[in-house]
């Protein structure tokens, strides 16, 4: 817990590890697209198979 006053007692869990100390490697645009395609489309994400998508879409078609 974070407070704006001095606490009587320190947190018993303050020394516990809270996750990765190193960040994930940065991805290139191509790697990101591959990652997204592989990760599925759970719930919210519209994922485009990129190969042909530009050929299939176009504002002019509307």
């Amino acid at each position: 817990m974070k407070t704006n006053f001095k606490k009587i007692k320190s947190n018993s869990y303050s020394d516990k590890d809270d996750g990765p100390t190193e960040f994930k490697r940065e991805l290139s645009p191509e790697e990101f697209e591959e990652f997204i395609v592989k990760s599925g489309a759970r719930g919210s994400f519209m994922i485009y198979r990129s190969k042909n998508s530009d050929d299939e879409l176009g504002v002019d078609q509307l």
């Binding site: 407070t3 018993s12 395609v37």
Partner: protein
């Protein structure tokens, strides 16, 4: 005699765990803002952010004994707990621990989990003293003063539902804040920013995935759209109308509008602080934490073209566009009618806009969703987003009230046409949404079949017992409410929960052959029209296209039987 406390109060704000399947993604804005208000009043304040601290416990819920020890270590005057509807079960579990560990504190609930049906929440969570309804900053501030002055006359404070023995008292409606620039920035020093930065990466766009110090902000209150599945306060104030009208929304609306008039605060349902306030907020985050990405968790930025253009211009003028990329939410009608806005946003550093497309069936969009969008809006928006090289993100949902097999095919056809892979949500009637109020009895009956038997007149049971059964059913429903990946109650007129799960799977895999094969089977079994698909989908349907092929072959055979051999084209003979 009233004893006024000389020092400020000691206030604890508790943030429950949420979305345990991923790391903590968004700062707890409400707790940060209320902590700022306490600091302005020279009070002591602590934020126990269980959603961040769970990462010290392998991402699982923080152990009860740890929470108990944390709370009991101080003598709190005021404890507030808040969260989305989906935190209800955890808050209910924590409430007795909090009450025991802070026996002298005023124990207050607020936020989505308790705002929409505070009278029922007070019955279901008996440890709470009162609930702040809707927008909480001013109500909280007045409550703080009242506790500090030790007068505890809460009934004079607007926007509360107060426990009164076995019942509760509603105070007058709280007017919305007319100038959101008066809302203080969250007390960032009390937020577990180090933990949040460790879970900075989110896969909304390349920039958000690669970010190392992503912060999140919320500025907008409400949304100009009236989606029937949405429970967010401020959207149409349907929650307040329902509460004060005791179920009669028209009566409630009168009261709420009268309150607006009295307070001279009648206003659009969606409100923003000035663009300057928001850019200053980001500059503060840059200065304090050197952030590299901002998630603007507003409901619908694109719906306000004027504000968005002002914000983007200022963002560029301040030189933030190259240093801090950002992403947000928008809606299709506003982008489809103002596609240039997307380019404006992209130039200001926006890397993604997430849209709630919901369905590609015009019938469902119009009758069920009521967002004010049609399929053509979705297509235009999608094309615009792709042309601008932003990541196209969108949500869809199935199980809408009047959605039949043709409507589902419209949606999956949209995905196929656009080469998109989607796993849709299942429509969940969250408490506070119009679809909840419109279907409440149906929803509760799914949690207690006795209610159906009583409705059907099989039993004569007194009203008090029925009320109790309904409350217990509501408790079960709210306990189960999650992020709409899983099932709860359905409001579909046509499909059961197991059917929706199968449909969801077939749609996700775009297995239209099995989906329509099954639809034929169900139609043959039930003779229900909602299983019968139109000819429009014959090309996706193995049964219909197969039948057509066989019809043609048979026709050819008939022709063969009646036609002199030397007049039949060779190709026809080969295909036969």
């Amino acid at each position: 005699m009233i004893l006024v406390q000389q020092n400020g109060l000691k206030v604890l704000l508790i943030v429950p765990e949420i979305r345990l399947d991923s790391g903590p993604q968004y700062f707890p804005f409400w707790a940060g803002i209320l902590a700022s208000i306490v600091q302005q009043k020279n009070g002591d304040v602590g934020i126990l952010d269980l959603n961040a601290l769970r990462m010290k416990f392998d991402g699982k819920k923080v152990p009860i004994e740890v929470i108990e020890e944390e709370i009991a270590a101080e003598n709190w005057d005021f404890v507030g707990i808040g969260g989305l509807t989906t935190t209800y079960s955890r808050i209910k579990e924590l409430a007795p621990i909090i009450r025991k560990s802070a026996p002298n504190a005023l124990f207050v609930g607020g936020g989505g989990w308790s705002s929409y049906n505070p009278d029922e929440i007070l019955k279901l969570v008996p440890q709470l003293d009162l609930i702040v309804i809707g927008e909480g900053e001013v109500t909280f501030s007045e409550l703080y003063d009242e506790v500090k002055n030790n007068s505890n006359d809460f009934e004079k404070i607007n926007g509360l539902c107060i426990r009164d023995k076995d019942s509760c008292v509603f105070t007058k409606p709280r007017a919305l804040i007319d100038n959101l620039d008066t809302v203080p920035y969250p007390a960032y020093d009390l937020i577990e920013t180090d933990i949040y930065f460790k879970y900075s990466s989110i896969n909304q766009s390349l920039e958000s995935y690669n970010s190392k110090r992503r912060a999140s902000v919320v500025w907008e209150r409400g949304c100009p759209r009236g989606c029937t599945f949405c429970s967010h306060n401020g959207m149409s104030r349907i929650d307040l109308q329902n509460i004060y009208g005791k179920g009669d929304r028209r009566a409630g609306e009168k009261l709420v509008r009268e309150s607006d008039k009295e307070n001279d605060t009648f206003q659009m349902p969606a409100r923003w602080p000035t663009a300057q306030y928001c850019v200053d907020n980001i500059k503060l985050l840059q200065k304090k934490f050197d952030v590299d990405f901002i998630t603007v968790v507003d409901e619908n930025m694109t719906s306000n073209k004027k504000w968005t253009e002002e914000f983007c211009k200022l963002y560029i003028d301040e030189g933030l566009d190259q240093e801090i990329k950002w992403g947000t939410l928008g809606d299709a009608p506003s982008v489809a009618t103002n596609p240039s806005l997307v380019e404006t946003m992209r130039q200001a550093g926006c890397s993604y806009i997430s849209f709630g497309f919901e369905s590609a069936s015009d019938k469902v969009l119009k009758e069920d969703i009521q967002k004010g969008q049609i399929r053509a809006h979705l297509q235009k928006t999608l094309d615009t987003i792709k042309k601008s090289n932003l990541t196209p993100l969108s949500t869809f949902m199935i199980g809408n009230q009047h959605e039949n097999i043709d409507d589902l095919m419209e949606t999956v056809d949209f995905w196929i046409q656009n080469n998109a892979e989607i796993d849709p949500f299942i429509c969940t009637p969250y408490v506070g949404s119009p679809i909840f109020y419109n279907n409440k009895d149906r929803i509760l009956e799914q949690y207690d079949p006795k209610l159906t038997m009583i409705r059907n007149g099989l039993y004569q049971i007194n009203d008090e017992i029925i009320k109790d059964l309904k409350l217990k059913a509501l408790d079960k429903f709210m306990t189960e409410c999650g992020d709409a990946f899983e099932y709860t109650a359905t409001i579909s007129e046509y499909f059961t929960v197991p059917e929706l799960f199968a449909i969801k799977h077939f749609m996700h895999t775009q297995d239209t052959r099995r989906l329509l094969q099954w639809a034929h089977q169900r139609y043959d079994e039930t003779k229900k029209d909602y299983w019968m698909h139109s000819e429009k989908w014959n090309h996706y349907c193995a049964i219909c296209s197969g039948k057509l092929q066989l019809d043609n072959i048979q026709l050819d055979n008939t022709q063969l039987d009646n036609t002199p051999l030397d007049t039949i084209p060779l190709t026809s003979l080969q295909s036969s």
